[in-house]
Symmetry: C2
C-alpha cells in the first residue's frame, strides 16, 4: 500500500444505530457535540480550568472528597492497569474475587504487574458475600483487594458497601473496577471506603470509549507517592527518584497526578477532545441529578426485565444482584443466537450483545444505559426482538414484552 | 465535593485560538466534525470496516506494506510504551541516541521496562551522524535501537534514511518515534528499514491527542508473536501462553494485533471517536497528497524561518536539520519570555510554545503544522509577534517579518 495506490474513502458516515448491548452504547448527543469543540493548548488557562472543572465534576460523580480524581488517557482498561501497576509492587499479594470475565482481567493485569495473585471464585451469575471476601483476606493477607463492581459478562453487581470496612480492618487497599456500573447503579467512593476506583465513559456515563475516570484515596496517594520518580528530561535537582518506581511511564499515577496537580508537570499531552467528552458526560449526569440518573437506569432495567420475561424468555443469574443497566437473556431453544442478533442489527438498526466464556452462545446481553436508558429505547428494542423471535417460530404472547415494559413506566 | 454541592458549568465553549506552538495544534475542521459522528458497536460491520480502512490509510501515511499497522488507544507516549514493552524483554540492551527531551523519554520508558539502557548524547540543537550511531551499535550490541525522528524540544530532525541498513547489518531492531515529524517531513517506513514507528495525531497530522498510530515490520511482529499470551477470560484451549509475556496487558501489541486482525479477539473497547478522528487525519492528508502536505509544511516552515530572521531574531540549533514544522527562536535580550507569550495568547489568541530543560527561558518554539501550516497563519503570527516585541522596545524592522514570509509564498 502506498500513497498513490490507496483508495481514499469518504468522510465518516456511520449508520443509524440504537446501541442496546453491554456497551459501548449510543452517546448523549451533547457529548458528541462536545467532542467536536476546537482544541486549545496544553497549558492554556482555558485548558487547565477545564481539567480542574472536570476533576470537580467527577468528584461529584464518584461521591468523594478525594483530591486525586482525574482521567487516565485510554480506555477503561487503561484506568485499571494504571491503578494496579501504581498501587502494587512486584511480589505484593493481590486478592481478586472472580465472578466473571472482568475479575479474570484484574487478575491478569496484576499478574503481568508481577504481583502474587490469589483468586477466589464463585459461579457466573452469583456475587460474593462479605464473609467470603473477609475469609479470603484473612487467609491471603493481600496488599490490595481488586474487586469488580459490575461485571458485564454476567450482569452481576457485587455489593461493595460492607467491603471497605473489612479492608480497613485488615489494612488492605481496596480497589474496584466500576467501568460497567458507574452512573447507573449506586456508587459511594468515600462512604464505602474505596482507595481506588476506575471507570470508562462507554457504559452508563454515555460517552465514547477512550477516557478512564479514576479516583484515589489519600492512603492510595501515599503509596503512589512513596514510589515517586519524575522522568528524565523534566527531572530537577532534588526531585524524588524512588528505587521501586512504577514499571510503566504512561500509567505512573504519580506523574499523572503531578500533571493534573498545581505543579502541572508535563507528562502526556492530555487528550483534549476526550477531556471535553468526559466533562460533558459528568455534566449531563449532574444536571439531571446523580440519584435521578440512577433511578432512570433502575426503571429502564426493570422495564426491560419485565419485557423479556413477558416474552417468555429466561433471565440468567441472580436477578436480585443484577446491575440496573444490563440483563442476560437465555437464547430460546432453536434460535441461532448470532443470526438473530444480526437480523436485529440489519433490519432494525438495533444492537444487542453476545457473551463471553461459559455464556457464549447461551445468552444475549441487553443493555439499557446512559442515553439509552429511556422508555422509547426499551420499547423499541422489545418490539424488534419480538418480531425477530417470531421469525424463528418461537411461541410468544403478542406484544407481551412491550406491554409489560410500558406497564413499568406507567406505574412510575 | 458531593453531587449536591458541585457547581455545574455550562457546555464546553473554548476561546478562539490559533495554535502555533510545538503541538497540540488546531485540528483540521473536518477532523473535529468526524469526532462528533455517532457511535456504533464494537463489532458492528461498519466499525470493523472503519478499522480496516484506517489501517489502509495509515499504511499510505507511513509508506509501508506492513500488515501490522494499527492505532494504540492513548496519547503518543502510549504508542511509544507499547512499542518498547512489546519489543524489549527485561534485560535486553536498548540503545537510545539522545538529542533532546524525547530521547530521554525513550530511555526512561525502556528503563522502566527493565531493559539495560545505553545512551549516546549529542548537544541539543544537533543530530547524529550514521557513523556515530553505528559505532555505538557495534559497542553496545543492543536488541533495539530507539531513535526519535523529530524532537520538538530542540526542533531537530534526525536523518533516518541510512540507519535501517546499519541496523539490519548488525541484527538490531530499529524503532523510531515520529510523533512530532510524521506528516510534515519525509517518512519512509519500508525504504528506511524501520521495524517499528509510532506517532500521535496532535502534530502534523492535525488531530487531537489521544490516538497513537503505529506500524510494525514482519520482523517486529515475529518478536511480539514469540511473547504471545492471550488473557484469561478469553483464552481457549491451545492458545499460546509464553513465559516471557509482555509485562503490560494494555500495551501488549500481540493482543492489540489480535483485536485489529481477522480474529478480532476482544481486548480493549476501541475508542470509537478517536478512531474516527485518526481516520479523518489520514484521509485529509491523503486527499491533499502526502508529498503535497510535506511540501506545504516545508514552505510554511521556510516562511516562518524567514519571518523570524527578518525580525532580527536568532534561531536555535542546526537549521539544516530543523524539522519543517517547528522553529526555536531565541528570546531577545530584555524580553520576559513567558509574559510575551501570555500577551500573544491573551491579546491575539495566538499560542506559541515555551521550552524544556536547557532551553527553558531561552527560546520560544513556533510551530507551523497540520491545518496551521498555512500562509495566513504564518503571517498573522509574525504580525502579532512583531506587535508584542515592540511593546518591549525591541528594535525591529517595520513589517519585516511579514514581508519576508510573504516573499517566500510569492516565490512559490
Amino acid at each position: 500500500m502506498t500513497a498513490s495506490t490507496v483508495q481514499i474513502p469518504g468522510p465518516i458516515d456511520p449508520p443509524a444505530r440504537l446501541l442496546m448491548g453491554p456497551g459501548p452504547i449510543s452517546a448523549y448527543p451533547s457529548v458528541l457535540r462536545a467532542m467536536s469543540a476546537p482544541l486549545v493548548g496544553q497549558y492554556d488557562p482555558f485548558m487547565t480550568r477545564t481539567m480542574t472543572e472536570t476533576q470537580q465534576l467527577y468528584r461529584a460523580v464518584w461521591n468523594t472528597a478525594n483530591d486525586a480524581t482525574v482521567l487516565v488517557d485510554g480506555t477503561s482498561r487503561a484506568g485499571i492497569e494504571a491503578a494496579i501497576v501504581s498501587l502494587v509492587r512486584p511480589g505484593d499479594r493481590v486478592l481478586v474475587p472472580v465472578f466473571g470475565r472482568f475479575g479474570l482481567l484484574l487478575a491478569e493485569i496484576a499478574e503481568r504487574a508481577q504481583a502474587e495473585v490469589h483468586t477466589i471464585e464463585t459461579a457466573w451469575g452469583q456475587v460474593f458475600t462479605p464473609a467470603a471476601i473477609e475469609e479470603a483476606i484473612v487467609r491471603v493477607r493481600p496488599t490490595l483487594l481488586a474487586l469488580v463492581q459490575g461485571d458485564t459478562s454476567t450482569t452481576m453487581n457485587q455489593p461493595l458497601d460492607e467491603i471497605g470496612a473489612i479492608c480497613a480492618k485488615h489494612g488492605v487497599l481496596f480497589y474496584t473496577d466500576a467501568t460497567a456500573s458507574l452512573g447507573g447503579n449506586a456508587f459511594e467512593a468515600d462512604a464505602w471506603g474505596l482507595d481506588a476506583a476506575t471507570a470508562g465513559l462507554q457504559k452508563c456515563l454515555g460517552g465514547p470509549s477512550g477516557s478512564a475516570p479514576i479516583t484515589l484515596s489519600d492512603r492510595a496517594v501515599e503509596v503512589i507517592r512513596s514510589r515517586r520518580r519524575i522522568e528524565a528530561g523534566i527531572r530537577e535537582e532534588g526531585d524524588p527518584d524512588a528505587p521501586d518506581f512504577v514499571r510503566s511511564n504512561y500509567f505512573d499515577l504519580g506523574m499523572i497526578l503531578d500533571y493534573w496537580g498545581p505543579r502541572r508537570l508535563n507528562h502526556h499531552t492530555e487528550a483534549t477532545s476526550m477531556l471535553y467528552g468526559a466533562r460533558e458526560c459528568a455534566r449531563v449526569l449532574l444536571l439531571e441529578g446523580r440519584d435521578a440518573v440512577i433511578a432512570r437506569h433502575e426503571r429502564a432495567g426493570r422495564a426491560m426485565l419485565a419485557g423479556v420475561r413477558a416474552l417468555g424468555l429466561s433471565v440468567f443469574g441472580d436477578v436480585a444482584h443484577k446491575m440496573n443497566n444490563v440483563v442476560a437473556v437465555e437464547i430460546p431453544e432453536g434460535v441461532p443466537g448470532d443470526e438473530a442478533r444480526a437480523a436485529l442489527l440489519t433490519d432494525f438498526g438495533i444492537e444487542i450483545g453476545t457473551s463471553f466464556g461459559p455464556l457464549h452462545g447461551r445468552v444475549w446481553r441487553i443493555g439499557t444505559m446512559g442515553y439509552n436508558a429511556r422508555q422509547d429505547a426499551v420499547l423499541t428494542t422489545l418490539a424488534a426482538l419480538e418480531a425477530v423471535l417470531r421469525r424463528y417460530r418461537v411461541a410468544l404472547p403478542v406484544a407481551g414484552g412491550v406491554d409489560a415494559a410500558a406497564d413499568v413506566y406507567r406505574a412510575g
